[in-house]
């Protein structure tokens, strides 16, 4: 809120609403044009062309819902959606559980906190491509974990998730968690640092055990921080692409395909824009399903304050 809104306006010199903060509005015009033109315009364009039979080049030759019918009868798309759901739910739960656990541990005023924080956050500085390549090597049965454990004498030890279509998502999940948990930890830690010391003192006076204080008092107080972290994690999940490309390129078979990879392959290597647009529109719907409740929550939160 700016001070101008609170400035007492004389009865005869009422400023016109549109011209209030004129310069800041002018300064915002490029941003508004970009977001309306590129984001909204691009989105509408994509949705419109998802109802055409565009191939390599876009053309307005209407085919109705044909692209969507084909999409939902394509096995690779169904597998992609299922993988994303499995990866998304598991990764959400585990990122938050591990991230909060680590943040709470660091918050107990331990020694070398800075060092641990750096170590835990460090993987986040690596791109998904690097993360994927590193974990591809670690999980490779020929020279990774499996061969090391076998070298120690456990000959029958088997751990090759990337070569087993029923376990491949676990391999991706391990790499994803390794990369992403640090960030969530830091965000939650920042939230924990914002909790007033008096609350801890009060709970100690009342003799409430530390774990119960966390669950009953601290976590509800951290709601806004959790929501921010949730949005970050979920948007990262929906756009999951580079990790898969670097680790498995969708294999073995099609067992680790994800929607973003389906969209890219269909648009560019298969020269089928219509089908790719239909798939990306479905991804947009997924994101909307996640974002709209969040927006409502935020909106309602503000009203209550």
């Amino acid at each position: 809120m700016s001070s101008a809104e609170h400035a007492p306006a004389g009865p005869d010199k009422r400023p016109i609403r549109l011209f209030r903060n004129l310069w800041s509005k002018i300064a915002a015009i490029p941003m508004i044009l970009v977001s309306v033109g590129i984001f909204v315009g691009g989105t509408i364009w994509t949705i419109v062309y998802s109802f055409t039979d565009s191939g390599l080049l876009p053309r307005l030759n209407w085919v109705g819902l044909e692209q969507y019918e084909r999409l939902w009868s394509t096995r690779r798309w169904l597998v992609s959606i299922e993988n994303l759901a499995v990866f998304g739910i598991a990764s959400l739960i585990l990122t938050f559980a591990l991230g909060f656990l680590l943040a709470a541990l660091l918050d107990r005023k331990i020694r070398f906190e800075d060092t641990f924080r750096t170590i835990l956050l460090y993987p986040f500085a690596l791109s998904f491509i690097v993360t994927g390549l590193v974990w591809q090597w670690i999980l490779n049965p020929e020279f990774g974990v499996q061969s090391i454990v076998r070298g120690l004498g456990f000959e029958s030890f088997t751990f090759d998730p990337l070569y087993d279509s029923s376990k491949v998502m676990i391999g991706l999940l391990i790499a994803g968690l390794w990369q992403g948990t640090g960030l969530i930890m830091v965000i939650l830690l920042a939230g924990l640092r914002g909790i007033d010391e008096d609350i801890w003192k009060a709970s100690r006076v009342d003799g409430i055990p530390a774990w119960k204080t966390y669950v009953v008092i601290i976590i509800p107080m951290l709601k806004p921080v959790f929501i921010t972290a949730l949005v970050l994690v979920t948007s990262g999940i929906v756009k999951l692409y580079d990790l898969v490309v670097a680790m498995t390129s969708g294999g073995p078979g099609i067992s680790s395909e994800v929607p973003a990879k389906f969209v890219y392959d269909t648009l560019f290597t298969r020269q089928n824009l219509g089908q790719g647009f239909a798939a990306s529109t479905m991804m947009l719907v997924t994101v909307a399903i996640i974002l709209i409740p969040w927006a409502l929550l935020q909106f309602r939160g503000k009203k209550n304050d």
């Binding site: 294999g251 078979g253 099609i254 269909t266 298969r270």
Partner: protein, 410 residues
């Protein structure tokens, strides 16, 4: 200092060249050792025989990485001077949208219709009677590469056809040798299936499915045999644990695997390893069953340009690519076959000669790239990726889905 001098002298040379000389940027995805050596032959010929300069625009990665970049440059209004595509339908829509230079003038002046063998390569460049690309080389998929070393260890004769290959497999497995090396990538699995289809279903059924898009034939008994053979091949390849095709070829070279189904580009790997065709390894065109080759390979397209000087240079390059000297120099380095039958490849080895003979006899088919759109090929690749990686996927299920894809193809 040195660099500055070089730059100065380079710019002096550029400004000194005659009017009309242009720098022509050529994009391609030939980046491996043998491929780079081959493309430098093209650059050398272009620089020496014309006033223009070849600017090399190699795009690392495979065709799948390079093609989207090329296409977005052409559609985005930043066309290069010339660009590689595979023979077939990859650039079809670009031509239809009027983004490609018409080469009919050069083709008629040089009489391409007479000299290009097989003429189907020129047909793949021709849309509505106009020629839009210059064919450069021929690569074929239909080869089974066999390791003499592996069969010696197992104490059986080197097979001469697919049935003998399957029959010899148990002897190899007893020695711990993988009978069939198969890289776990969709394009390799799909390609191997295509080879088996031509060899085992026969040419007629293959044409019905891939060219006439007849789903009934795809669901019929001829293809049933192919899918049953593919299930058998899947079992033979079950112990392969490599991804890239050249790693699988290496298993054959070192005798860890009996054979591999792969295109004639695998030959470069045998040559680099110092192996001799007929002594260390054997190649069976058409799996030893059907002596027929598909004629994939590469062609150059020339995106339309506003500058008439660039257009003139494009036409000169197009003419040069098909000329006899360039055809010989390039294809010997690349390991591919020339697009004209009237040139002499003295240095060609045993396997290349087998290929040349089949071409000369006219036993050729269009390649999958020519017959099917990238979209349909992509769907088949998805099916094959799943089929080859999942031992519980039955031949009947795979065939039914294959027929569905063919039925919906256009």
């Amino acid at each position: 200092m040195k660099l500055t001098t070089k730059l100065l002298s380079a710019s002096a040379i550029v400004s000194a060249t005659s009017v009309g000389a242009v720098e022509l940027e050529v994009t391609h995805w030939w980046t491996s050792g043998g491929e780079a050596a081959a493309v430098s032959e093209l650059a050398k010929a272009f620089n020496e025989q014309t006033d223009h300069t070849w600017v090399d625009g190699a795009i690392a990665g495979s065709g799948g990485t390079a093609r989207p970049i090329m296409i977005s440059r052409i559609t985005g209004g930043d066309p290069m001077g010339a660009t590689q595509f595979n023979h077939g339908r990859q650039a079809e829509e670009l031509v239809e949208a009027g983004l490609m230079q018409d080469l009919t003038e050069v083709a008629e002046a040089q009489n391409w219709r007479e000299i290009v063998k097989p003429v189907s390569l020129l047909d793949a460049c021709t849309i509505d009677g106009r020629v839009y690309c210059a064919p450069l080389n021929i690569h074929s998929w239909q080869w089974l590469w066999l390791s003499h070393d592996a069969y010696e260890q197992a104490g059986v004769d080197v097979p001469t056809n697919w049935d003998e290959f399957v029959a010899a497999a148990p002897a190899l497995q007893e020695q711990g040798i993988v009978p069939l090396a198969m890289g776990e990538q969709a394009w390799q699995q799909s390609g191997a299936f295509g080879v088996m289809a031509i060899a085992l279903a026969g040419e007629e059924a293959w044409r019905a499915v891939n060219i006439d898009l007849d789903a009934e034939v795809a669901a019929g008994p001829a293809y049933q045999r192919v899918f049953e053979a593919a299930v058998a091949a899947r079992d033979l390849a079950a112990d392969t644990n490599v991804g890239d095709w050249n790693l699988a070829t290496n298993m054959v070279i070192t005798g860890q695997a009996g054979g591999q189904i792969m295109g004639d580009w695998a030959q470069g790997e045998f040559q680099v390893a110092g192996q001799v065709a007929g002594e260390d390894y054997t190649c069976l065109p058409g799996l030893g069953e059907t002596q027929v080759l598909d004629t994939g390979g590469d062609a150059f397209y020339f995106p339309k340009n506003d500058d008439p000087e660039i257009t003139a240079a494009q036409l000169e390059l197009a003419a040069l690519l098909v000329s006899p000297e360039v055809q010989v120099d390039f294809n010997l380095k690349k390991g591919s076959l020339p697009v004209r039958g009237d040139v002499d490849l003295e240095a060609a080895n045993d396997c290349m000669r087998k290929g040349l003979d089949i071409l000369a006899n006219g036993n050729i088919l269009p390649s999958g790239d020519m017959a099917l759109t990238p979209d349909v090929q992509g769907q088949i690749e998805d099916l094959m990726a799943e089929f080859w990686s999942d031992p519980s996927y039955t031949a009947e299920d795979a065939q039914a889905r294959y027929a569905d894809i063919i039925a919906s193809a256009n």
